[in-house]
Subunit: 140 residues, 2 copies
Amino acid sequence: MSPADPLQAPAQVLAANAAFYDAFSQGDQTRMSSLWASHSTVTCAHPGMQILLGREAVLKSWKTILRVAPEVPLRCFAPRVQLLGDTAVVTCYEGAGTGPAHLAATNVFVLEVGEWKMAHHHAGPLQQPLRLEPSGSVLN
Amino acid sequence: MSPADPLQAPAQVLAANAAFYDAFSQGDQTRMSSLWASHSTVTCAHPGMQILLGREAVLKSWKTILRVAPEVPLRCFAPRVQLLGDTAVVTCYEGAGTGPAHLAATNVFVLEVGEWKMAHHHAGPLQQPLRLEPSGSVLN
């Protein structure tokens, strides 16, 4: 496995992160399945829910969630990448459609055979929804 | 920097994770400061709050939170380690004192000069508090 290129990796990780929100918004289960890691263990904590362990449990949850495509896209605001070798942590906010961001999220990606794959997702509610600029900076 | 030893790393990461909850429970700001990464960027999302970026902002938040030691310890239940090279993701539940777990948490650790240091913490509320066995298995 090639190690992550520190110059290229942040943009690649942001693209993988964007692909996750695209797959969610389009209700695309095939794409959702392919963007999760298959060599590393995966975990997922949906808002307010118990933590899911393992690819089978995680993908089953997405199959249930994406049984029908969401009525509005799930938008990602202010993604920031922490590159930690061949692993990357993205922190961001999530909001539905044109609404304010109402969740804080942690997305962990790992480099598998040259591609950044999701190893962990955790989203939790914000006490106060955030209005964010298109640039991603926090307004309040 | 020595790479993580896959055989030793899970126990070392669990010890670092336990040290975080000990520092919190004892209101030990010095220990809290020393267990966060200093070479890697750090981020922290306290329950319901905006995501904090950078060591200064993160440690300032802990200074405020730990101005007085908590009346009851913050307990960690069912920690699980995902080892991703020199990075590790711990998922677990958190509860106060003898109460049920009321938060789901993600703790990311990175190997810095042979020691596992915290690079990210995210805790979010559970919709339904969980009663957990001492072994850490989920009861409901």
